[in-house]
Amino acid sequence: MLNFTIRRLLFTIPTLLFISFVIFFILDAAPSDPTGNLPLTIPPDVREKIRESLGLDQPMIIRYLLWCKQFFVNEPLNLLAQWGINIGDPDRLRVISFQTRSPVVDLIAQRMPQTLWVVGMSYVVGVLIALPIGIISAVKQYSWFDQMGTFISMIGFSVPTFFTGVLMIVIFSVWLGWFPSIYDTTLVVDSWRTLGLQIRQMAMPVFVLALFNAAQISRFMRASMLDNLNQDYVRTARAKGLRERTVLLVHVLRNSLIPVITVIALGVPQVFGGAIITEQVFKVNGLGQLLIIAIQGGDIPTVQTLTFIFAVLIVLFNLIADILYGILDPRIRYD
């Protein structure tokens, strides 16, 4: 397993380099202009100077190599420097956002908590409600609970979050006034009261996203349970005279969880990607919102860096899913 992991990790390096180049190439080919969003009253010659100052007059390949140096060399060195290990000149040029003129990595670090709190929590909540729903739906296939579960999943799956989100804002913020409609990213949780505020402001976005996540995962869980429920070894377990609970939880559930866990692991990068729409609706300014603003503003370094980090996470979690599969299913051997 260790060999497999190392081999796979080594293989990801050229893959990721290739991905980073493709991203850069696509971004360069896309008609985005960092001065495009400026007021029309800024004349073309000034715009040209702005572009020059951003280094956009350089050829694409030079800009790509510069980005590579900044991201793969300067940023890690800078990180080391923060831990007190100084190598080389401390005045390295970091990856700088066009829009904010600040290091992209710092922006990402600043956004991470919101995204993890809200999107991550919604993923956890989604999984926690999806698993029991999927299990019960499968065990009681075609019961009213299963039909309800199917119906709710359908809604969660097919109704977009910008609709459910706005609907919830209208109901819970405008009519009932229970929850704030705008997320306060500056809230510091340091007391029971602020924790309460944090929970209140997280409630709606977490619910909306959890519904969406739960819809997918509960379907997977149900299908996987149904698959296993009809397996011979389940009949064997019943023949052994095991309690139905033991049959379901020990035999069926454990085996059904294997594919579901991989699906869950593969979904984790989406958490880091943030939920662009939901973040926008509830004004949770996390990574998704950072990405969308960067795209709108033609902020190539930010888009490039964020997209690349997502690519890394996707590759990484694919590997994790494979390793988990190997650990969980004794039939799989990678070496």
């Binding site: 004349p43 100077k49 829009q99 904010t100 600043q110 956004r111 004004k283 603003i293």
Partner: protein, 565 residues
């Protein structure tokens, strides 16, 4: 109009009075939402309105424009003019005097050197300064003494108020930005996010593209201001949800730039938690009348001055078309509070607004019919008027846009009532405004009888804008259809006024000239104004002192804002 301004003045002085009684920080916390989040606190590195507005809470220029477009001194002691000797007689230099005793938020003194530094900071070729156009023709900026700055231009400037007037060009602290000039400008993240300013607030925490937390600047020049102790400037989302957070849930006190359908905005306002504000710049939705013949039979010469229009060259027809329009209905249908009836193509700033053409405010179908009857246009058997075999049949084009198509339908019906037949055409905005030489559908080529769009100008000075309708601005194949004179209007008297304005520095004389030009265009009915379009913002009922300003930052007078009990 008079009564309104009186009331406004009274309201403003009331607000001032209540603010004066209160001390700094008494109003507690202020929540502002901009649905586009601020990226940076330095308008020289980002000209986006959101960034300019956000930094205007911290950084101040020498003078602001007020809500009527008039200059008010901020850091300057007064506004330099030719009369007070601040502007040289040859119009090539302007000398600003700073108020004495001004302090930066870090407690150090504001000097003329900071102003000189700021100018050099922006004029550095390698810095990518986004406000460079404001410094056009500046050849030298020098400090005559600690409180005096002289800006010299390379040519006479009748309107020398480009640099340091308005929030786009504030004064930054020389000490803080000393190492941030030229190519190093983008690397000064700390200075760009937390600039030291003279404004009523200072940044506590700047979260780029998200939220800015500010608190009152303890060194602000007015000891009783600002009334608010702290401000949260939240960004993100969309216009509708920003409006909702002020008007429906009351979570925020002020929301900016709410371009939403008027009926939705009205519904939200009906909740009673806040008010909708509208500010009106020079943006006017108008009809352009083609004085030349767009008939395809003329080939390369269609819509050029070689062939006058068969019936629109008759002023009576043009006037009747204008009289038949019910502008009040158009405003209600299309813009609600974000629109006003106007009879001028130059409705603002207020000093340029003419009242000579106000008769257009009321629809007059009967009058229009009578006018056409008198001019000899007789109704044919199909109800369409004609004279000497020429039928009043109009091709009316505009860009594809729901509101514009509503307008077309309404206007077509009104014109039918005066015996004018109308064919409607809408063109994708990218093509219509795109300026593609090969397309016959651009607004410059104007291969139609009437076209509709909106236009405005930057800043408060209409000189360049009013120059659009000189003879030399007529688009034609000879100048590759470049030029802004869509009606192909050519009047030597008008050109003379334009030339006169270019040599006039006195603001009141300039206003007279601009009005005269506007009236000439209006009374010749070559441009038919429809709706004066504004910016919309929302404020909570408890927020006092807001004076929505289209000429400067929305937050230009945030020092005067306070919480109404």
């Amino acid at each position: 109009m008079k009564l309104k301004s009186l009331l406004l003045g009274a309201a403003a002085s009331l607000a001032l009075a209540s603010a004066a009684q209160a001390g700094r920080g008494d109003s507690g916390h202020l929540n502002i939402i901009y649905w586009q989040a601020a990226s940076i606190m330095n308008p020289y590195l980002s000209g986006g309105t959101k960034d300019v507005d956000a930094s205007s809470m911290v950084l101040e220029p020498l003078a602001h424009y007020d809500e009527n477009g008039n200059m008010v001194p901020v850091l300057a002691a007064d506004i330099p003019t030719v009369n007070n000797g601040g502007v040289s007689k040859d119009l090539t230099s302007i000398t600003w005097k700073l108020k004495p005793g001004l302090k930066w938020s870090d407690g150090s003194a504001v000097t003329a050197k900071d102003v000189v530094f700021t100018a050099n900071y922006c004029m550095d070729e390698t810095g990518g300064c986004q406000q460079l156009a404001k410094f056009a023709d500046v050849t030298k900026v020098e400090a005559l003494d600690d409180l005096t700055v002289k800006i010299t231009f390379g040519k006479p400037k009748p309107f020398p108020y480009g640099p340091f007037v308005g929030s786009t060009t504030p004064v930054i602290q020389a000490r803080q930005f000393a190492d941030c000039k030229g190519i190093k400008a983008p690397t000064c993240t700390e200075a760009n996010f937390n600039p030291i300013g003279t404004g009523p607030f200072k940044v506590d925490e700047f979260r780029a593209n998200d939220t800015i937390t500010l608190s009152a600047n303890q060194n602000f020049r007015d000891p009783d201001k600002p009334a608010f102790a702290t401000v949260t400037f939240k960004g993100g989302g969309d216009a509708a949800s920003a409006a909702r957070s002020v008007l429906e849930t009351g979570e925020f006190d002020y929301a900016w730039n709410l371009q939403i359908a008027p009926e939705i905005l009205a519904q939200m306002e009906a909740k009673g938690k806040g008010k909708i504000l509208a500010g009106f710049g020079p943006l006017v939705e108008r009809l352009m009348v083609n004085l030349t013949d767009p008939n395809p039979k003329w080939g390369d010469e269609r819509s050029t001055v070689k062939h006058p229009h068969p019936f629109l060259s008759d002023k009576a027809v043009r006037k009747a078309l204008s009289m038949a329009i019910d502008r009040t209905t158009l405003v209600e249908v299309g813009y609600g509070k974000a629109g006003r009836v106007t009879c001028n193509v130059l409705p603002s700033p207020a000093i340029y607004n003419s009242t000579a053409n106000d008769s257009c405010k009321v629809q007059d179908i009967a009058g229009a019919n009578k006018l056409l009857d008198q001019a000899g246009w007789k109704r044919g058997p199909d109800g369409v008027r004609q004279k000497n075999g020429v039928r009043l049949s109009i091709l009316y084009q505009t860009s594809t846009n729901a509101v514009r198509q509503d307008f077309q339908a309404l206007i077509k019906d009104w014109w039918r009532q005066i015996g004018v037949e109308t064919e409607l055409k809408n063109i994708d905005a990218a093509v219509f405004f795109g300026g593609d030489q090969s397309s016959p559908d651009t607004f410059q080529k104007f291969f139609a009888d009437i076209e509709m769009y909106a236009n405005n100008f930057d800043g408060t000075d209409p000189e360049a804008y009013m120059g659009s309708w000189k003879c030399s601005e007529i688009p034609s194949p000879e100048n590759a259809w470049l030029g802004a004179n869509m009606p192909r209007y050519c009047n030597p008297a008008y050109d003379k006024l334009v030339a006169e304005m270019a040599g006039t520095a006195d603001i009141n004389k300039r206003a007279e000239l601009a009005k005269a030009m506007n009236d000439m265009l209006m009374q010749d009915y070559v441009i038919i104004p429809l709706v004066w379009r504004g910016n919309v913002a929302a404020r909570a009922n408890t927020l006092a002192g807001v004076r929505l300003n289209v000429w400067d930052s929305d937050l230009w007078n945030i020092a005067d804002w306070s919480r109404e009990k």
